[in-house]
């Protein structure tokens, strides 16, 4: 199974990663639901990870994998904090629309 992927040009992987990144970015900008925005950000992380892992595989250097691992860990921390903020905001404002919640505007 693994061999069947052999021969796929790295460019294809990079194009895939870019598309995923683009989709994630669009979501993060366009959506107003903070949960979906966060998920879009996760998508972008994953696109980056994919690129790292492909390059690691190409160079046969596991530094890329280590970097991807760190990204996953940091993403976990990020998600936890962000969701905590969402919960707090919801408790405070009874809504989560990022355009409506403007407490930082003063």
């Amino acid at each position: 199974m693994a061999t069947s992927f052999a021969g796929v040009p790295i460019f294809y992987y990079e194009a895939l990663a870019s598309i995923l990144f683009f989709i994630g970015l669009t979501g993060a900008i366009a959506r107003r639901n903070p949960l979906v925005m966060l998920m879009s950000i996760e998508l972008m992380f994953n696109a980056a990870n994919l690129a790292f892992i492909v390059f690691a595989r190409a160079w046969l250097n596991n530094a890329g994998q280590i970097f991807a691992f760190l990204v996953i860990t940091v993403a976990a921390a990020e998600a936890a904090i962000a969701l905590a903020i969402v919960v707090v905001v919801f408790r405070f404002a009874q809504q989560v629309d990022v355009d409506e919640v403007r407490v930082l505007h003063g």
Partner: protein, 198 residues
């Protein structure tokens, strides 16, 4: 080639669904699918440990957290009522940024060697042997020997995150033992009664 196209199609469709889904829970489900496909890709790219981590951490922990928050915030089925999405501007801005990323990776890809099969009898390498690329042993050695500092920094970041989350979402009222709280309530009640003169 065909498996790659299939996986790629799954990845893109599920990513699109994640971003466009009407209900956040659909985003979660599609993202789950996306992660599964990604994990498969990682496995094929000899990132064995990362494939498992992708499932355990991303699907099992992070995404679960999303489900949890959705259930907490929105106990019903109806989507959280929100204003209109900012659709028209978004793709342009995103496309610009994505183009930059694409150009960067394309340059990198141009320099990278083609993916060559790793010539071992066991494609994933012997367990625990640090010299086979992508094996858990190899990964572990790299993590704990050559890349220990970033690992420890990540641990610190995680710790900070945990403390932050507890402070943010936790109950910030000072802890009072139950018995003492009951006593306080009783006293307050008595005082209120005295004030009211009843």
């Amino acid at each position: 080639m065909i498996p790659f196209w299939i996986i790629a199609a799954v990845l893109i469709v599920s990513a699109l669904w994640t971003v466009t889904a009407r209900k956040p829970i659909y985003s979660v489900v599609s993202l789950l699918l996306n992660f599964a496909a990604l994990a498969t890709t990682y496995l094929i790219l000899h990132a064995e440990f990362l494939a498992v981590m992708q499932i355990i951490v991303y699907s099992g922990a992070i995404l679960m957290l999303f489900v949890f928050v959705i259930a907490l915030l929105n106990s019903g089925i109806a989507a959280v009522v929100l204003g209109r999405d900012r659709v028209p501007v978004a793709p342009a801005a995103a496309a610009a940024l994505a183009a930059v990323a694409f150009v960067a990776t394309a340059i990198a890809a141009a320099h990278a060697p083609a993916i060559a099969p790793i010539a071992t009898h066991s494609p994933l390498g012997a367990v625990g042997r640090g010299n086979v690329f992508g094996s858990i042993g190899d990964f572990g050695q790299a993590l704990f020997l050559s890349r220990l500092l970033p690992f420890e920094i990540t641990a610190l970041i995680l710790m900070v995150a945990v403390v932050g989350v507890v402070l943010l979402a936790g109950d910030l009222t000072p802890y009072v033992p139950t018995r003492r709280r009951a006593e306080q309530t009783r006293r307050a009640l008595r005082e209120a009664i005295l004030r009211e003169g009843k």
